[in-house]
């Protein structure tokens, strides 16, 4: 057999020539050039010419080329956190639009990221994407960004399903991995010529999840689910891998690490003063209905007096006025004071992360007392307030005090110093925090500080968990993901349970070791593995 070359179009065109109006030379030349522009040249991403301020990293360029020239515009973008999936998606969108292939676009993202997507599309790519507004119907938008939670609700869902989109983008697509959910059922029904699913969690590990995401990107390709699973079990393993590579782009941080700014991590240890030690000790002895509460209170106290006090106030069964009075009497918090010193030593912008809103308030007050300009940032703020706070931080303030909620997806490359005021128990969360500043586009080295109270739960976590998990050096992704394969759904719960139930630190250490080894044995470049084997 040989290559089939279709030529009938050109023959028809010549026949039409005689009866067609004749264009002038200038128009003829322009028509020629415009046609050149709209062609897909696999050696070139045309739209980059129109985006002079955008510089793609090599892995991004490669991803975009793969999706455009080999994956026919239907793909899963599964780069690790912070490698710039949004940029990749933006370039692909721009390119398809420039070629005249795409006009109507639906972008589904978590609601916390809507404004960021709108901003990025408009400012970086000159793409007039709009957030869905309640007073306009779906069909009125060319390029609309919405949260999946809104879109899947009626009457929106059926209106969306009626539309014929040219491109569908779903950010954080791991929300679609379960075929029984409304999310999945909904997205599966959306009609679109091109389709990009963005996710940072590795779906390689779970055959079901791959199957379902692939069903969206390439419906039908993997055949019947039951047979698919049997086949995978039997032997057709490589074939499936190859197929998935046909539709998925995945770059890991370690693959591109040398291009990265390095991270410099320091731990600052602080002593409680005598009064604080006493309170901390008293907290260990409180009688509570559930022993987990003690742990929580201790954690909170390591963060701020306020966090602990408020939490005690809420618990009806804790009736320890004496202790609460003691806490109330404390003039300051040693860790907070040390942190203020640290900020004063640093001659640049700083982001502080804390787990508690009351700590956030306290730190802000303390900054103010010390003449340091600080702005808060948390998940409760309305969009406009968030934008405003970021603007303030970028232009005026020295410090941004953030809680984890609401900070996901933020790009703060203009800052290179981060203080972890308290350590999250899930190292994933820590990685996400650091990812705010240690990401592509960061040209300078990044400084990370941990502020830890000696001889407290703080330090315990540091030793038990963090030291072992090589988090300090950088790349650890997807812990929750890995663990969920073993039926452990929430890393944080698991850790608090271990710490709580263990009678000695030694026992806790062993248990955590076990947990860590599960993660390590499953770490990177996981081959496709059948969950039931």
């Amino acid at each position: 057999m040989e290559l089939n070359i279709q030529t009938n179009h050109v023959n028809n065109a010549v026949d039409e020539m005689k009866d067609s109006p004749s264009g002038d030379w200038d128009t003829f030349k322009k028509a020629y050039q415009l046609n050149q522009l709209s062609m897909t040249n696999r050696n070139e991403i045309t739209s980059l010419k129109y985006l002079p301020n955008l510089e793609l990293m090599p892995h991004q360029q490669e991803a975009v080329e793969k999706v455009l020239f080999h994956m026919h515009g239907r793909a899963i973008l599964a780069d690790e956190v912070g490698l710039g999936k949004t940029i990749e998606a933006g370039v692909i969108l721009k390119e398809l639009m420039t070629k005249g292939l795409v006009q109507k676009v639906l972008i589904l993202v978590p609601s916390s990221l809507i404004q960021q997507w709108v901003g990025e599309m408009n400012q970086t790519f000159f793409i007039p994407a709009r957030a869905k507004h309640r007073s306009y119907p779906w069909e009125a938008y060319d390029i609309v960004i919405s949260s999946i939670d809104l879109a899947k609700k009626e009457p929106h869902a059926s209106q969306i399903i009626e539309q014929e989109y040219d491109l569908l983008i779903v950010d954080e697509a791991h929300r679609l991995k379960n075929a029984n959910t409304k999310n999945y059922q909904f997205v599966k029904q959306i009609k679109s010529t091109y389709c990009l699913l963005l996710t940072a969690t590795p779906i390689q590990n779970k055959i079901d999840e791959i199957y379902h995401l692939m069903q969206i990107v390439r419906p039908g390709l993997l055949g019947d689910k039951k047979i698919f699973k049997e086949q995978v079990k039997e032997s057709n393993y490589d074939a499936v891998q190859t197929l998935i590579k046909q539709s998925m782009v995945r770059t890991k941080k370690s693959d591109v690490l040398d291009e990265w700014a390095t991270r410099d991590i320091s731990t600052i240890k602080v002593d409680f003063n005598e009064e604080e030690k006493e309170v901390y000790h008293d907290l260990e002895g409180i009688n509570t209905s559930h022993s987990l509460t003690n742990l929580t209170l201790k954690r909170e106290f390591c963060s701020s007096r306020e966090a602990c006090y408020l939490s005690m106030q809420k618990q009806e069964n804790i009736n320890n006025e004496e202790l609460m009075n003691k806490i109330e009497q404390l003039p300051h918090h040693s860790k907070a004071l040390r942190t203020i010193e640290l900020i004063q030593e640093l001659d640049e912008k700083v982001i502080i992360f804390t787990e508690y809103k009351s700590t956030q308030l306290y730190l802000q007050w303390l900054c103010q007392q010390n003449g340091i300009s600080a702005v808060p940032y948390n998940g409760d703020f309305r969009k406009s307030k968030k934008q405003w706070m970021l603007q303030l931080f970028k232009n005026n303030a020295k410090v941004l005090i953030a809680t984890d909620a609401g900070a996901e997806g933020l790009n703060l490359q203009f800052c290179r110093t981060m203080i972890h005021y308290d350590l999250p128990w899930n190292p994933m969360k820590l990685e996400q925090r650091i990812g705010r500043i240690h990401r592509f586009g960061q040209k300078e080295d990044v400084n990370i500080y941990y502020v830890v109270l000696k001889n407290t739960i703080d330090e315990k976590i540091l030793h038990l968990l963090y030291d072992k998990l090589s988090v300090f050096k950088g790349v650890i992704g997807e812990i929750d993901q890995i663990l969920s394969n073993f039926g452990i759904d929430n890393f944080e719960d698991e850790v608090s349970e271990i710490l709580d139930e263990s009678r000695s630190e030694r026992e806790a250490a062993i248990k955590i070791d076990n947990l860590v080894s599960i993660i390590q044995s499953n770490q990177p470049e996981e081959e496709l593995r059948d969950e039931s084997s």
Binding site: Q6, V10, W25, L34, S38, Y50, K94, G100, D224, F228
Partner: protein, 267 residues
């Protein structure tokens, strides 16, 4: 052309087509459309139908186009990828699809012959394990069949006009455009086949792999799975099986002087 150049492009487009420029500042262009442009751009066929039925003149719309931030007024935002710009591109592509043009001569006294060239610009569209288009420009001298590649690149800076210059006359065609086209597709197909062996092999291999996969994964025991199988087979074929298509971009007859003709045929 980049975002900053869109303004000038729009200005040229509308002035060339006799639209009145009502306001012109950098990044902001307000135009009063002509009837023809209104019909092509504004998508209101019912209005024009009605006007025609009533035997009236009709009132073309005015539109403001904005291509830069912070202009004195707001207008319709025009950018690369916007449907409006695409529409305008399409108009130009359509208007410039066919042509008959004559070389402009310095010679103003002697009778000068002009030689007919059939020029065609074609899209070569590859579909298979990769997606790729090429634009090929060819000219054939219609008196003796000499073929010339990269015709447009060679002639981009020449001047051609729609009317034959005074004192010039055209040499009649010996080969018909249809015949020339046949020759071109034959020659081009030969070259494409020679150059794309790797593309062909890779595509077929991948195609077969996916078909194999599909065979393994479907159980053809009922009508439904039979349909499913056929549907997917079709889909895989469309996506991966190597195909090349020649499409017409634009072309026409160009009349060139003997000098220019010699120059093009000698290389």
């Amino acid at each position: 052309m980049n975002q900053a150049e869109i303004h000038g492009f729009l200005y040229d487009f509308f002035t060339k087509r006799q639209a009145d420029i009502l306001h012109n500042e950098d990044g902001l262009l307000k135009v009063k459309l002509t009837k023809e442009l209104d019909q092509k751009l504004m998508n209101r066929p019912f209005y024009w139908q009605y006007i025609q039925a009533m035997g009236k003149e009709g009132e073309p719309l005015s539109v403001t186009f904005q291509s830069k931030e912070n202009t004195s007024e707001e207008g319709e935002w025009v950018h690369f990828g916007s449907p409006r710009l695409q529409q305008i591109f399409d108009i130009i592509k359509e208007e410039g699809k066919y042509t008959t043009l004559y070389e402009q001569l310095e010679e103003k006294t002697n009778r000068t012959p002009l030689y007919p060239w059939f020029v065609c610009n074609l899209q070569v569209k590859y579909r298979g394990w990769y997606v790729h288009d090429e634009l090929v420009s060819l000219g054939i001298l219609l008196t003796n069949g000499t073929m010339r590649f990269n015709w447009m690149e060679e002639n981009m800076h020449e001047e051609y006009s729609e009317t034959i210059p005074d004192y010039a006359y055209t040499i009649p065609l010996i080969i018909s455009p249809q015949r020339a086209m046949e020759q071109i597709t034959y020659e081009l197909s030969k070259r494409i086949k020679e150059d794309s062996q790797n593309f062909y092999d890779q595509s077929v291999a991948l195609y077969e792999k996916e078909i194999q996969m599909l065979d393994d994964l479907t159980d053809l025991n009922d009508e439904e799975s039979q349909n499913f199988y056929e549907q997917n087979k079709e889909q895989i074929y469309e996506r991966l099986y190597p195909k090349v298509e020649l499409n017409w971009v634009n072309g026409g007859i160009f009349y060139l002087s003997k000098d220019k003709t010699n120059q093009l045929t000698s290389i």
